[in-house]
């Protein structure tokens, strides 16, 4: 039995459906991300788990107990908000200890637990400050300490990193993940940042228009997207529209702009119009006359980002985006004619959206 279960959850606001029949199981100790663009329903889902929003249909079970209509103050969950929602009129100690105070914990025991929680996020000694006197990163740590101080069974994170600068955000990803593993606390993270979701999660639920488009490990989600949306949303990808010529046991032969590509179909019943996908880092540059070159074309754009080169190449198949790791030697310059190659196993094929009810 899963620790947290969402069964047939929907949320409607008048005519607008924010969430459409979601089923989700979260295991004890798991770190699960709800990933999607704004308006996909990920925050609404989290708010229903926290009890701030009541579902229109469905039930939510926490450790076997029906909490669908339980009030938020009875649920005992730790929540970290996007704005941090610290109490500006209380010190850090007051903020972190608030939940314990509400549980009528004695002052001495409370101080101990507050110090412990601040220690966890490396904020010792700042307990006497007011939120206004802290930096953005410190405020975020206070918000995390405040949620953890109550030792909740479930930790809910609502885009907690979106107000931090890039470098700090990367540090917090690693740190928060290690805290979560150490405490073994079941965690749900809401984010629109796919790197964040991949770095931290055991599993990712990719959400799209109020439904879950894909639920799998970060690696599976990236390597084997099950829907065109998941494929486009997780990382960059090249999309080549084509039509299925024939389909055998393992591969589908797809006609893309006059060239036939052999694509593993992974058991999908693809037919008619489809999209073929390949990740930029799976495309390799080769000399035009090398054996095994799949297409040739001219480099139109070349960008250096430090760890890699990003190239746009106009080929007979269409424009391809190619990522080359920086191995010390720059790739050919803009305007150069090059060949591109890949392994057929790195190609993916999905039915075109809206064409076959696959979306």
């Amino acid at each position: 039995m899963s620790f947290l279960t969402l069964k047939g959850i929907s949320k409607r606001y008048g005519d607008f459906t924010a969430i459409e029949q979601i089923d989700l199981d979260v295991e004890r100790g798991e770190f699960l991300s709800l990933l999607g663009p704004s308006g996909c329903g990920k925050t609404t889902t989290l708010q229903m788990v926290a009890g701030f929003v009541t579902p229109s249909t469905g039930t939510i079970l926490l450790d076997g107990r029906d909490i669908t209509h339980e009030r938020p103050e009875k649920r005992g969950m730790g929540v970290v908000f996007q704005s941090y929602a610290l109490f500006p009129h209380m010190t850090v100690n007051g903020n972190v200890g608030f939940g314990l105070e509400m549980r009528n914990m004695k002052r001495a025991a409370r101080a101990e637990r507050v110090a412990e929680a601040l220690d966890l996020v490396r904020l010792n000694g700042l307990g006497g400050r007011y939120p206004k006197e802290l930096s953005g990163g410190q405020r975020q740590r206070v918000a995390i300490a405040r949620a953890l101080a109550m030792r909740p069974e479930l930790l809910l994170l609502d885009e907690p990193m979106s107000n931090l600068d890039a470098k700090l955000r990367e540090e917090m990803h690693i740190e928060l993940r290690s805290i979560q593993k150490r405490l073994g606390i079941t965690t749900i993270l809401v984010t629109h940042d796919q790197v964040e979701a991949m770095t931290m999660s055991d599993r990712i639920a990719v959400m799209h228009r109020g439904t879950i488009a894909q639920l799998s490990t970060p690696f599976e989600a990236y390597e084997r997207p099950e829907t065109p949306f998941a494929s486009a949303f997780l990382g960059k990808t090249n999309l080549l529209p084509g039509a299925v010529l024939q389909r055998n046991a393992r591969c589908a032969e797809v006609n893309v702009a006059g060239t036939t590509l052999k694509v593993p179909h992974e058991g999908r019943h693809v037919q008619g119009e489809v999209n073929v996908y390949i990740r930029p880092e799976k495309v390799h540059l080769a000399a035009v006359d090398t054996a095994g070159v799949r297409a040739t074309g001219r480099i139109t754009t070349r960008v250096f980002t430090g760890n890699q080169w990003l190239l746009l190449i106009d080929t007979g198949l269409g424009q391809l985006s190619v990522a080359q790791p920086n191995n010390g030697a720059p790739p050919p310059d803009e305007g150069a004619e090059v060949g591109v190659a890949w392994s057929d196993d790195d190609l993916r094929v999905l039915q075109k959206e809206g064409n076959h009810g696959n979306a």
């Binding site: 929602a85 109490f87 608030f98 509400m102 549980r103 007011y130 405040r146």
Partner: protein, 290 residues
């Protein structure tokens, strides 16, 4: 915001604020100074205001229990009105802030309504409502709640009711401003940490709107302590407050120096209380709010 170097700014700041300074100087500071000077003049029943100076006016106002009672009545009135404005205005604002779109603007307009109506019309309205043969007393008697009319006009109760009515909007506007700055997620944060809606209000929301309540109180107190029209029209000639007493000295007994003295003392008392309160608030909330 862009700021100029002190050296480069030159005369521009002074020139730009010159019209406002001129207006304040000629229309506020000069009359105030003249009033102050006037309050030290000697008044003679037979010759009027004389060009000699004395402190007797101040001694008279401070020592005479007649004026003491007027000042005490005014302070009592101002504190009661302020207290009632907090009691009515704060919940009113919170309800307003949670209303949905068209209703919110409509109700806000209703709340601010009293400020849009001329003081004379508004006060006459209260006369009609509160008079011995007014709507309220007729209704109470028709329902057999009272057998004879409750005297409200020409009493302090009537004055306090009318003043509270017109001053509540200032409290609402001031609390409204702090409520708008309140992060809506803090209430959820409080709930998620095990606090009931009531405790969230008392421990999380109320402390954060307190600065707004305080500044609203200062405005309401200052305005009610120096209110003239409402006490004059609803309180009548006999129920004097400081502002009406000063008016009577000026236009009734024509003792201008004494009237000026009362006005100056009212100003000093008002400024002292208001400054004291805002100093206290500043020190209390300094490290919490920007």
């Amino acid at each position: 915001m862009a700021t100029l170097d002190p050296e480069r700014a030159g005369a521009a700041p002074w020139l730009l604020s010159a019209p406002a300074l001129l207006l304040f100087g000629s229309l506020l500071l000069v009359p105030l100074l003249l009033t102050l000077v006037l309050s030290f003049h000697v008044f003679s029943d037979s010759q009027g205001t004389l060009a000699t100076y004395t402190l007797r006016n101040y001694l008279e106002v401070i020592t005479d229990p007649y004026y003491g009672a007027i000042f005490a009545r005014t302070a009592g009135m101002a504190f009661t009105v302020t207290f009632l404005c907090i009691l009515l205005g704060v919940p009113e604002t919170i309800v307003l802030a949670r209303m949905k779109r068209p209703w919110q603007s409509i109700c806000l307009l209703v709340v601010l309504g009293p400020l849009l109506i001329s003081v004379v019309v508004r006060t006459l309205g209260w006369q009609i409502l509160l008079g011995n043969n007014g709507v309220l007393n007729n209704a109470l008697q028709a329902l057999h709640i009272t057998s004879e009319p409750i005297r409200l006009v020409f009493t302090m109760t009537g004055v306090v009711i009318a003043l509270t009515h017109v001053l509540v909007p200032f409290m609402v506007m001031s609390v409204w401003a702090t409520l708008q700055k309140l992060d809506p997620q803090v209430e959820w944060a409080g709930r998620s940490m095990g606090a009931s809606p009531f405790r969230v209000f008392r421990r999380v929301v109320l402390p954060q709107i307190l600065p707004g309540v305080l500044s609203g109180s200062i405005i309401v107190f200052a305005l009610s302590a120096s209110a003239f029209a409402t006490p004059a029209l609803i309180g009548g000639r006999r129920l004097k407050v400081v502002a009406t007493a000063a008016y009577d000295e000026f236009l009734g007994t024509l003792n201008w120096p004494l009237g000026a003295t009362i006005a100056v003392l009212l100003l000093i008392a008002n400024v002292a209380i208001v400054l004291g309160c805002s100093r206290l608030a500043e020190r209390r909330f300094k490290h919490i709010f920007d």
